[in-house]
């Protein structure tokens, strides 16, 4: 048979397309031609496949080999198709049997000696294969652990092309039991982290604020003088967030899979991630995109976790503005001429900033050296639409003062706080289920005001504040959301006056620096 085919998965962003790889061998001038919209790295597959095949003793015939990647309209990139191309060609050469390879997808990069190397994106690719109805997936041995995270498909690890040929020709078992211990049970990250809220000194207000943020999924800002411990607090936010569900964890792993180099072991880590990009980050690295194949940014790696922007106002304005879409929709869409990629990005934003460029504005007993215009320029880097979404604003006490005052450790430890958060989220989840959201922070303003308005008596002062122009409508909504979260934490059925009052103290303002 001079015509054969094998299947692989083309990834664009996180979504995979089944790529049918046809190989045809015909009696013409010897050549190896690859058609069907390959990019540069994929076009080089011809050389790798030719060398790999000949080095395992199945050199290509002196004929014309045409490999077609179909559908031709889908842009394809990377070396992940090498294995599938080799299989298709070997099947066309009748080295291996066409029917035996038909129900499987092949993923992996070939070395010239025929070894199969790890590639990024195996998890989403295998997921796509399963969804397309494939029963088996042959993946690089190094990526087997992540492929195994996908239930309902038989994933096999391949170390060498020769072994794969042996497997199909002679029915030799391909090893599938040597998966690393971590991937064996498929779950990691349940062990406790070194970080604990109890390690935080003298920040009772901020710790309380963190618990509220965790319980309601509220985005938060931490404002304080340099060195006051903003990062220390933010790092501990994931320790009080609930563990990810297996499903959420898979979504995160998929993002990690395509952003990895393929070498790192991707497991099912149930810990919410803490992603802290540096303030010099480009827009592409923060939001996603980049040259060539679209890659997920920090916002997607923080999916279901915490995105911490330290020195948030040192990020460039356009970079920060890129946060608007993911904050709004929980995802990022990267548009390209050839199509678009969608990455999930439902993260909890924690941003830390000094109150002004010198950091001393409003710090009692310190002098701010900044001019008023300098402060305005500084705080204006965060545009209104982003500030709008920051429900909680925490003032961070300079830690030196806290230690000097002999203040003890926080009375709250991560384990007990996490328990409170879990209970509050459960209460909120039950109440909000009918409205398609899980967390108070995700409740749209109109729904909030229509369905979740506490008694007028409770809101009287807040209404008055709005009427007097001391709060904006958005500020009002923020207070309402926070009041619900505070009520959830207290096990109260609906917010009481004290919850609204505390919400006002916690709420974020339209101006980051001053009230």
């Amino acid at each position: 048979m001079a015509l054969a085919k094998a299947f692989s998965i083309g990834l664009y962003g996180l979504s995979g397309t089944v790529i049918e790889i046809e190989a045809d061998i015909s009696a013409q001038l010897p050549a190896f031609v690859l058609v069907g919209l390959p990019d540069a790295s994929l076009a080089e597959a011809t050389s790798r496949v030719r060398a790999a095949c000949s080095n395992i003793g199945h050199g290509l015939p002196s004929k014309k080999v045409v490999v077609n990647l179909s559908p031709a309209s889908v842009p394809k990139s990377g070396a992940g198709f090498d294995l599938a191309i080799a299989v298709a060609v070997l099947a066309a050469m009748q080295v291996i049997d066409q029917p035996s390879v038909s129900g499987a997808v092949f993923l992996g990069e070939l070395g010239l000696d025929g070894s199969v190397r790890a590639v990024p994106g195996v998890l989403p690719a295998v997921l796509a294969a399963r969804n397309a109805g494939f029963e088996r997936a042959y993946v690089p041995q190094a990526n087997l652990s992540e492929a195994r995270l996908v239930a309902g498909i038989d994933a096999r690890g391949v170390t060498h092309l020769a072994k794969l040929v042996g497997h199909f020709r002679d029915g030799v078992g391909i090893e599938d039991g040597t998966v690393s211990a971590a991937a064996q049970d498929g779950i990691s990250g349940l062990s406790g982290s070194q970080l604990d809220l109890a390690q935080v000194l003298g920040q009772d207000f901020a710790v309380e604020g963190l618990v509220v943020a965790a319980a309601g999924g509220h985005h938060l800002s931490l404002i304080g003088a340099p060195g006051s411990g903003k990062t220390m607090l933010a790092e501990r936010l994931p320790t009080i967030l609930p563990r990810l569900s297996v499903e959420q964890s898979l979504e995160v792993a998929a993002v990690e899979s395509i952003s990895s180099d393929g070498q790192a072991a991707i497991g099912l880590n149930l810990n919410p991630r803490f992603v802290a990009p540096h303030h010099s980050s480009s827009k592409a690295s923060l939001i996603g995109g980049g040259s060539g194949a679209p890659r997920p940014g920090a916002v997607s790696r923080a999916h279901h976790g915490v995105l911490f922007l330290d020195e948030a106002l040192e990020f460039s304005g356009t970079t920060l503005d890129g946060l608007r879409e993911p904050l709004e929709s929980g995802r990022v869409q990267v548009n390209r001429t050839g199509g678009y990629a969608i990455f999930p990005a439902r993260f909890q934003l924690a941003l830390a900033a000094n109150p002004c460029p010198c950091g001393m504005l409003g710090v009692v007993g310190k002098d701010c050296r900044c001019s008023y215009p300098a402060i305005r320029r500084y705080v204006n880097r965060l545009s209104g639409p982003i500030l709008d979404r920051i429900d909680i604003r925490l003032a961070i006490r300079p830690v030196s003062i806290a230690t000097a005052a002999g203040l003890g450790a926080s009375a709250v430890d991560s384990a007990s706080a996490a328990q409170r958060v879990l209970l509050a989220r459960k209460a909120a989840g039950e109440r909000l289920a009918a409205h398609g959201v899980e967390l108070n922070a995700h409740l749209p303003g109109p729904t909030l005001r229509k369905h979740f308005k506490p008694q007028p008596r409770v809101l009287r002062e807040l209404d008055r504040m709005l009427a007097a122009g001391r709060a904006s409508m958005r500020g009002y909504d923020r207070c309402l959301r926070l009041a619900w979260t505070l009520a959830d934490l207290d096990g109260s059925i609906s917010p009481k006056i004290e919850h609204v009052q505390a919400a006002v103290a916690l709420r974020g303002t339209d101006d980051l620096a001053v009230a």
């Binding site: 003298g202 009772d204 207000f205 309380e208 404002i223 304080g224 003088a225 109150p355 504005l361 409003g362 710090v363 009692v364 003032a395 961070i396 006490r397 002062e461 807040l462 008055r464 504040m465 007097a468 001391r470 004290e498 609204v500 009052q501 505390a502 919400a503 006002v504 103290a505 916690l506 303002t509 620096a513 001053v514 009230a515």
Partner: protein
């Protein structure tokens, strides 16, 4: 010479503040006449007013009565007091006084001045008023000047400001530095927020900054003019002075067409010092007129403070010397907010709030005039974290505190 009923209705009644309509017409006319006849430094009319009504004295002047005629109207202790206090016999004093006054004795000119006030020829639409000594609108503080008090104040604007209980004088050099300007503006803002009337001289520099800040903050401010209201000076500040007339008050103790001559400035300063309960000298060179105001205020027993400056700043030398000149009497203003302490107001009335819950009251009591952080409130009030949050949230909702940086500060006037 006295006004007919009709003349009174035409020339004087329209100039009387509502509270003062009961005033004796003859007395009012006589006081107006003396402000026309005499220089501000001339204390004789006020000195004699203890025994002799202004209208009787005016009659004597018009009659060019001799000293015997005057003496006949005075009791014996008055004659002693004249010798005692004025250092000369009544004959000499009266002779000199007549020599000074009679050349200005011109009924028509006086009526023209009054007519100028009534007609609105000044071009300003605000009320034009005459506030007479002894009337309800007359500033209490000016009575402390005794015989140096003016018999009448010529006003354009809100003359009721003169009766304000606490006024703060802020004075300083005309060549204000950037530092002085910003401090003056801060002080004016603190006063504005606390509802305190600011008083100054309408001159360039510190005076102008104080008035302007008040005008911008729509807070009351009073400018005492050295010349008559028909000669607003300095001309460069004209638009600001007009703005003061609408937001506050322009005052002069001399008739409208009296020119702002040099000696009149020094006399004017005593009015600023006496009207205000406290005087702050922001910046003053070695010989600045602001120091004259300050010294007068010290002499009157008013609260006086100076703003410290650089040791090598020529514009602060006067302040520093002044501070050393009256140790104890002159204080150093460490922060702009301290002017409220100076006024003895401590915390203005607007700050006493009724109907607050226990948590809120405890939290609110921890606030001074500067911003403090939530954890400081917690520490000082002895509340839990949650209670502090509740209290601060409630106070913020009620507009009693507001956020500043990472902390909170008290809002001095609701909505202000």
């Amino acid at each position: 010479m006295r006004l007919t009923k009709r003349e009174f209705d035409d020339y004087l009644r329209p100039l009387l503040p509502e509270a003062d309509l009961e005033i004796e017409p003859d007395r009012a006319f006589a006081l107006a006449a003396f402000s026309f006849l005499t220089e501000p430094s001339d204390l004789l009319p006020q000195f004699l007013s203890e025994w002799l009504t202004p209208e009787a004295l005016l009659d004597l002047v018009i009659d060019r009565a001799d000293a015997q005629a005057l003496a006949a109207t005075l009791p014996a202790q008055a004659l002693e007091a004249v010798e005692d206090k004025l250092g000369d016999g009544l004959g000499v004093i009266w002779g000199n006084a007549l020599e000074r006054w009679t050349p200005r004795l011109n009924r028509k000119s006086l009526l023209d001045s009054l007519a100028w006030m009534v007609s609105g020829a000044s071009g300003l639409s605000q009320p034009h008023r005459l506030v007479f000594q002894g009337s309800d609108s007359y500033p209490l503080g000016l009575d402390d000047l005794n015989t140096h008090r003016p018999g009448v104040l010529w006003c354009i604007g809100q003359s009721r400001l003169l009766a304000a209980e606490t006024a703060l004088a802020v004075v300083g050099t005309r060549q204000a530095s950037r530092y002085g300007s910003s401090v003056a503006a801060d002080i004016a803002a603190v006063a504005a927020q606390a509802g305190v009337v600011t008083v100054s001289g309408g001159a360039y520099g510190i005076d102008a900054i104080v008035h302007q800040s008040a005008v911008q903050l729509e807070a009351p401010t009073i400018a005492f003019m050295a010349g008559g209201l028909g000669h607003l000076y300095p001309r460069g500040n004209l638009s600001m002075l007009h703005a003061i007339a609408s937001a506050g008050l322009l005052v002069s103790e001399v008739a409208p067409f009296v020119t702002p001559a040099k000696w009149r400035f020094l006399m004017r300063n005593r009015l600023i010092a006496a009207t205000a309960a406290a005087t702050v000298v922001v910046e003053a060179g070695k010989t600045s007129g602001a120091l004259n105001t300050g010294r007068t205020a010290v002499g009157l027993g008013r609260e006086v403070a100076v703003v410290p400056g650089n040791i090598d700043s020529a514009r602060s030398i006067g302040c520093h010397q002044f501070l050393n000149e009256f140790p104890g009497d002159v204080k150093l203003l460490a922060r702009p907010q301290d002017v409220l302490k100076l006024l003895g107001a401590g915390v203005p009335d607007a700050l006493t709030v009724k109907g607050l819950g226990a948590l809120e009251s405890r939290a609110l009591d921890t606030f001074g005039l500067t911003a403090i952080e939530a954890w400081e409130v917690q520490r000082l009030a002895g509340l839990t974290t949650r209670e502090t949050q509740i209290a601060l949230g409630s106070l913020e909702m009620q507009g009693l505190v507001e956020r500043l940086g990472t902390g909170y500060r008290r809002v001095l006037l609701e909505g202000g």
